[in-house]
Symmetry: C2
Subunit: 346 residues, 2 copies
Amino acid sequence: MPKTTLKKLAAILGLSTATVSKALKNYPDINENTKKRVVDLATSLNYQPNSLAQGLRNQESKLIGLIIPEIVHHFFSNIISGCIKAAEKRGYLVIVLQTNESFEQEKNHLKLLMNKNVDGILLSLSDDTTQHKHIKQVIDKGIPIVLYDKISKLIKSSKVIIDDQKAAFNATQYLIDSGCKKIAHIRGDLKPQTTIDRFIGYKKALAKNNIPFDNALVYRCKNLTYGEGFRLAKKIIQDHEDVDGVFAFTDLLATGVLKRFNELKVPVPEQVSVMGFSDWFLTKITTPTLSSVHQPGFEMGQQAFELLYKDICTLKKGEEIIPQIIEIPTYIVPRNSTRKLTKQTK
Amino acid sequence: MPKTTLKKLAAILGLSTATVSKALKNYPDINENTKKRVVDLATSLNYQPNSLAQGLRNQESKLIGLIIPEIVHHFFSNIISGCIKAAEKRGYLVIVLQTNESFEQEKNHLKLLMNKNVDGILLSLSDDTTQHKHIKQVIDKGIPIVLYDKISKLIKSSKVIIDDQKAAFNATQYLIDSGCKKIAHIRGDLKPQTTIDRFIGYKKALAKNNIPFDNALVYRCKNLTYGEGFRLAKKIIQDHEDVDGVFAFTDLLATGVLKRFNELKVPVPEQVSVMGFSDWFLTKITTPTLSSVHQPGFEMGQQAFELLYKDICTLKKGEEIIPQIIEIPTYIVPRNSTRKLTKQTK
């Protein structure tokens, strides 16, 4: 909607801007009928300062949407926190929506946010999302989207990611460097890119160290829960009594593994080393404490907002967005569930 | 702002509504000049469907604000999740803001939300908040506020609470019923109502069971962290070698206590029982698992939104809000950090 100015009011009413201005200020030299016409139109156009109307006039709502797969989740709540902190500094407010990994929810949420005239959207793709028309539609309407964490290479937008392959490679290499020779991997479901990439990283590390890949050592679970880790730990040790390492897709799974190994009197790390992924708070609480890959959620939330802000500003200047990809580094946090390194990690 | 109708467009332009309607539909029997005037005004008035403009017309933004002390926090992230879920069902979006327990932040956030024309606000008071003028101002402007969790009896608004005194009484009673005779209490800082109430609940349970209150058994900490629990556990056992129960203000503190007792080879629960508060996920992960008081965050978030929605509807009907207080029940979740009950909990 075009900006409402004195000039616009004047043009619609066929009056001079001076007359309109005076009418609004209730000058005595303007006749009552004219005053009434001016005030009526100004009211209709909401010429009075008003945040919603200002939003309309500036084409800015100073609102952004943050679509998150799961709120009650250490990594994602860190992302929310980082995003809100960065947004606050720039005077933006953040609408938070949860997809629960549902494609339908993702579509609905994007629609809602468009209707709310948000200035931009941060989106982590749901595990169910396989086509991207709904995302392209939003971008085509001039609302920038920045993808974070769960992304698709097929979407032309800015992105904030971690290199899951590299992170998983490093985690597996760490287990090998600490003496593990037979490492099981608990992976997520087939589809999400993160589980694919971490699986590839695991395989690459084995290959690099001339350890033959054995598909029987890969355990897949749909739900990345503590309970699944607990269940699979027993299966792993039953299937492969000489297994000496477990690399789990998330800390939650790894925590379930640790608990079950405790119960089964499988010494960790003396017999089996366990490595998680994410470096949640709970890694410090388990017995033994859990070695993990640090995945910087707060920083990811901050950087995702900053990237979105940059794209919003670019659009505002009438320029074209050149999508940018930021990779946030990860690192291993060794704790007591893995043995000390026997040689330096490469 | 008055609703933009065909009638209004017609009145401003001095045309009939039929002419305006036809002009908008580009009927051939309307002259081009008239069409241009109508379309220009309709565009200026944003007569096209548009959510911001609809918001203006209905005086509704369908946005609410949720002010939360801390996002990366199991209990509060459950509240966010419950609130967003309930809001979604009613077609509301939720702006999330974090205070970090700062009074200044709380004031700023309320201002921002007012400027954003939210329909209502959910607020948990920051620990620093001692006066309530800023809250009264918002309520006086016709924006309903519902307080949740950390509330003040001095604010006239709807509230969703748990009865911290009762919950702490029950937790202490549970320890007594399981055979504890000398129970330490790790409490929070002096000011927040929740720490005061849980402390009172602890004292009342001792009194009811004719156990003399000993202030030396009460340990205060400003930061409710794992590290503080870890630190205080050693101090408790050094100060009182015959202590046989610890009731901690939060699970995080209790988890630190458990870890330290593990390291000090203090058998839990054989020598000392440990009871937490909140029933976070981490209670299932500790060794031994942690008995706790279940504090239903998700439900609190849902109910807080529902109460706010009710208040918003009341205001919309032009009626006065009659503040309502909902108390959400808590219950003990016994796990392995406390002994089995020797008699029934009252």
